[in-house]
């Protein structure tokens, strides 16, 4: 990498402080046949006020990564290694009690299935009050009620939801209750795990707009996990593309849509069905490796249309090829003057 680029990047990082830094995070699942390498050493920064999308197909480790960051990985999974820094506090070094205090107040999760994450026997307000009281101690009922109603206004829920049970709410409303709970304690980082994917298109749009509004209002930084590229284009600032436990590309959302560089990102962008023009279908074969035994070298080699010899032996590092666009692929080379060149294809 050239000197110029380095200083440029240094400047930017001075201006934009990362709130959350993930370094070499590894989460494995124990199976009788060996460990499944669900998240195998991922690195990224989440900057203040930004929304980072984490995309990839099912089983690529995107949700596991989130649960790893939140230290919510359950047996048979375990965090094998790595560090997660939240404002310079290493989350992995904290003991359970210390971490519990951080979760919700600093780091909140908006879960995937809102249907299953609310307690069916508790009224909505009681669940939110519970979370607030656990972290902040006892407080007057009137103040608590006012605060919960304020949260409802923020996420666009009518006040009468206060006394309702979860089963009385529609899917979109339940999801908004989860958003309200997520932001109840003013966290600095919110992780939204497929928060809109089980909803109908129109309702999805309402919830997505709620999330955008809440984010702008509170200035939180957000990690959005999902697989719907259309939704990503609408909502995020940067995208990290995951494949089989690795991040293969991180780029500003515009770059990733206009000029995806990693072959897997290209497949992902190509396979978005359009509502504007009828295009011939692009078919990619999909035989993935056994997640317990990733092949040596590049993680995408078995499906890659441009695979070369070097891909089978050497793992490509994630490096910045264009401004803020980091790619893990042997296809590109940086020349001495910082130009990106494509390595001649073997075929």
């Amino acid at each position: 990498m050239t000197q110029i680029q380095k200083t440029e990047r240094g400047k930017r990082e001075n201006k934009l402080e990362p709130v959350l830094k993930v370094r070499d995070l590894k989460v494995f699942y124990d199976t009788p046949q060996g460990d499944v390498l669900a998240v195998n050493g991922i690195n990224f920064n989440l900057y203040e006020g930004e929304t980072l999308g984490l995309v990839g197909e099912s089983g690529c480790g995107k949700s596991t990564a989130a649960y790893g960051i939140l230290r919510l990985v359950q047996e048979p999974g375990r965090v094998v290694g790595g560090n997660v820094y939240l404002d310079d506090t290493d989350l992995m070094a904290l003991d359970e009690g210390e971490f519990r205090r951080l979760r919700w107040t600093k780091l909140a999760l908006i879960p995937q299935g809102a249907m299953n994450s609310l307690n069916p026997t508790m009224r909505v307000h009681a669940q939110i009050a519970d979370a607030i009281r656990t972290h902040e101690g006892r407080q007057s009922k009137a103040a608590l009620k006012e605060r919960i109603l304020e949260l409802f206004r923020t996420v666009g829920l009518p006040a009468r939801v206060y006394d309702m049970y979860p089963h009385e709410l529609s899917g979109g409303m339940k999801q908004r209750v989860c958003v309200a709970m997520g932001i109840a304690l003013n966290p600095s980082v919110v992780i939204a795990d497929e928060s809109t994917s089980a909803l109908d298109v129109v309702v999805q749009r309402v919830v997505a707009q709620t999330l955008i509004k809440v984010k702008e209002l509170l200035g939180v930084s957000m990690i959005m996990i999902g697989h719907d590229m259309g939704l990503m284009a609408q909502m995020v600032d940067r995208i990290a593309v995951m494949y089989a436990g690795k991040i293969v590309e991180i780029a500003p959302v515009r770059n990733l849509f206009k000029d995806p560089m990693h072959p897997y990102s290209q497949v992902l962008i190509d396979s978005i069905p359009s509502l504007k023009e009828k295009k011939p279908l692009k078919i990619t074969e999909g035989i993935t490796h056994d997640p317990r035994n990733p092949p040596p070298g590049c993680i995408f080699q078995l499906r890659c249309p441009h695979v070369m010899d070097v891909c089978r032996t050497e793992e490509p590092p994630l490096r910045e090829l264009k401004t803020r666009q980091e790619v893990a692929c042997h296809l590109y080379e940086l020349s001495a003057d910082g130009e990106v060149q494509r390595v001649a294809s073997p075929t």
Binding site: E57, V202, P273
Partner: protein
């Protein structure tokens, strides 16, 4: 016009829900006076789209014979499915096959993949000899781009969702049906593998003359492969017509909202306005007399509450919308 392959007339399905010792039963209208025709030739992909609760899966279940109609008829090649003799029913089941949403749930994890094919061949007595069996299975797998030696001896958990879904297509094809009811066949498959399944649908349509009833909530895949589209809203057709035409120039306010809400995969084109949803109770007001979309409709007026709007012709023969905005147009028959 020649005889239609599938002709659904005034199909109505009412479910009785609730009802305990002290509660009265409630009626939920899942599908109301639904009409649909699939021509015998050429084979087409007909999309049924709508949100959850719009009645699209009820329609699939009716066509597949899992539930029976409360009113109306389903006529297959000129024969009403309600009046079929046992032999005709078997013939109907051979001709109408299904592919379901969940490629993980339809397999019995204890059996190898070949078991699925063996069962089909046995049940429908398709083959005469073992060699014939192998040949037919291989041919069916080749149509979906798979090879027998790769997958037949495997167990379901050893295959990807995309492969499993293509195997279900191969299974359906093996019987050489006239119609495949595909209920959300790609919604649980990863984006990069969806194209392969949609491509199988196109090839079965074009090369094998098999029609599809493609049930989905995803307008973009319908736009890419579908011929005709029916968009349902709470059990009734909101709009129907050629897929490209309906999606390019939607007429019904609900369909306009729906098309507009599909997130555009382009960071430079963002949603341009906020929308609000009315309360759940108003939205689901099932006994309201008029247009069911009225509580959410930005263009609603008193007239909409008088009676449910019939389908009105838009411009071409096929494009129809059930909205009083087009009352000046001719009513569709």
């Amino acid at each position: 016009m020649s005889q239609a392959l599938l002709d659904i007339r005034n199909a109505t399905k009412i479910y009785q829900v609730g009802g305990g010792m002290f509660k009265d039963k409630r009626e939920v209208v899942a599908l109301q006076d639904f009409n649909l025709t699939i021509a015998d030739k050429p084979a087409t992909i007909t999309t049924i789209a709508g949100e959850s609760g719009s009645g699209k899966t009820t329609l699939a279940n009716l066509v597949l014979g899992f539930t029976s109609l409360s009113k109306g008829n389903i006529i297959f090649q000129g024969k009403d499915t309600a009046d079929m003799s046992p032999a005709e029913v078997i013939d109907y089941r051979r001709n109408v096959q299904a592919v379901f949403q969940d490629p993980f749930g339809v397999y019995n994890p204890f059996y190898r993949i070949e078991h699925i094919f063996d069962m089909v061949i046995k049940n429908f007595k398709l083959a005469k000899s073992t060699a014939d069996v192998r040949e037919r299975i291989e041919a069916a797998l080749n149509v979906v781009g798979l090879r027998g030696e790769d997958i037949l001896r495997k167990y379901p958990h050893q295959l990807s969702g995309g492969q499993r879904q293509r195997i279900m297509m191969a299974r359906a094809y093996l019987i050489k049906p006239k119609l495949i009811v595909a209920d959300e066949p790609v919604s649980m498959v990863d984006a990069s593998l969806r194209a392969a399944i949609l491509d199988v649908m196109l090839r079965l349509r074009d090369e094998e003359n098999i029609s599809f009833l493609y049930i989905t909530h995803d307008l973009s895949t319908a736009y890419q492969v579908g011929d005709q589209i029916y968009i349902l809203y709470q059990g009734s057709i909101a709009e129907k017509g050629l897929t490209t035409k309906v999606i390019d120039t939607p007429k019904h306010p609900y369909v306009q909202l729906l098309v507009d809400s599909v997130p555009e995969p382009d960071p430079d084109t963002k949603w341009d306005m906020d929308i609000e949803l009315p309360d759940e109770e108003t939205m689901r007001a099932g006994d309201a007399k008029g247009c069911r979309f009225y509580p959410r409709c930005p263009k609603g007026w008193e007239h909409c509450l008088s009676a449910a709007p019939p389908l009105y012709k838009i411009d071409s023969v096929d494009h129809e919308a059930s909205c009083y905005l087009y009352e000046a147009n001719e009513a569709a028959d």
